[in-house]
Symmetry: C2
Subunit: 225 residues, 2 copies
DNA sequence: GTCTATATCTCGATAGAC
DNA sequence: GTCTATCGAGATATAGAC
């Protein structure tokens, strides 16, 4: 949850805090731009304008456009991992996974820009954050997969592959943020529409929790390729 | 299924066919580049090199880089819509939807570049193909949603929202292509691994078909947000 | 810390010879 | 249809004054 550039310990001076706050504001402005047009599609001048600083001044705070881009991504990543990290092994499985799905849907609604920038980065092969994925993310996912596997073994949920279950949750919840342009074109609505948000959430919950119920999950799919 | 630039009627001359074949080859080369780096992240020179023509020559076949990009997308889109279009109202619902899921998974494996380029375009707000989404795609999806709704009303499958069901299928199947960098980082495997492909397909089938079975689908999810 | 001015470079696209 | 040469726009990043 620690945000790069805004985690100010008590020893930081007023100047340092001001400096860091300024950097953070620039990252905020850069996020929505990068999420819409990607690293190459955004100019330093556009970022400067959106952050209300001069272009020259922008390069006083960051030494390159790429550094801004990476800064945005790194900051995003810690927030990104938090919800899964919160998955509690002691909780009731259905409740815990349901809570996770609901939280992911809330995040897709509240911060679609972050979801889209993350998506852009991954689709392009994760050139900037591949290392973090192979270390932090992998460790976290493997740990939580073990929790889910235990739940399966204890008969609390149907036997499912934990990794594929997590991918399914990520895919469906993030889809509403990442593909909102397509959904808007087809359904004419987005998550900003409260009713649509509820329908979407209920559907994801039905699909995911349905796969976890101990009776339905037992039967295997017909004719798997 | 008609591919722009390669649909040569019998009346086209040898020269014309050669011309169109050349254009098609350029589009092929451009696809994998654009899918990895986006419109702005790829230079005309890179495309020329990949297509084994000179940069000057590239602009003999296409008047601008953007025209190439749109050409790739338009060609992709028709292939993209075909599987859903093939959903047969007369077929057994579980079989038909299962077949659709399996086909989408096959496509994610066989042509991940197309999936990723489509994803990039949509995430960025579909600036180039928004019109097609609001017309062709919307018409198609609405028509097939009606088919699925009819199946629900006839009691052949559980009552589900057809649009959200379609989004769920798209999300999960395309996720394996679009987020393969992340999946590779976490699971260490991709759809190229035959076993992993089968696990993934079975999991998606279990989740989707599970939500359609007439007994499990009846109960509503607990505590939807 | 913030500004004006500018060096430097890449890239899209074209001109014109062949 | 294909090449060499090049124009001009726009972008990153820096220099140096204040």
């Amino acid at each position: 949850m620690v945000r790069n550039g805004s985690a100010a310990g008590p020893e930081t001076s007023r100047q340092q805090r001001r400096f860091l706050a300024r950097k953070s504001a620039i990252l905020d402005a850069a996020l929505s731009l990068f999420s819409q047009s990607g690293l190459r599609g955004v100019s330093a001048e556009q970022i400067a304008e959106a952050a209300d600083v001069s272009k020259t001044n922008l390069f006083y705070y960051f030494s390159s456009k790429e550094e801004i881009y990476v800064g945005v991504l790194k900051r995003l990543l810690s927030d990104w991992l938090a919800p899964l990290d919160a998955l509690d092994p002691q909780a009731d499985p259905i409740q815990a996974i349901g809570d996770y799905v609901r939280l992911k849907m809330e995040m897709s609604r509240a911060d679609p820009h972050s979801s889209r920038l993350f998506c852009l980065e991954i689709v392009q092969g994760a050139p900037m954050i591949g290392d973090e994925l192979r270390t932090s993310l992998k460790t976290l996912v493997d740990r939580k997969a073990a929790v889910i596997r235990r739940w399966s073994e204890d008969g609390k949920i149907a036997p499912v592959d934990p990794h594929h279950l997590i991918y399914a949750i990520w895919a469906m919840t993030q889809h509403y943020a990442d593909f909102s342009a397509q959904i808007a074109a087809v359904s004419g609505r987005t998550l900003d529409d409260e009713l649509f948000f509820r329908e979407a959430t209920e559907n994801v919950l039905r699909v995911i929790l349905g796969a976890l119920s101990t009776d339905a999950g037992a039967k295997s799919p017909q004719g798997a390729a």
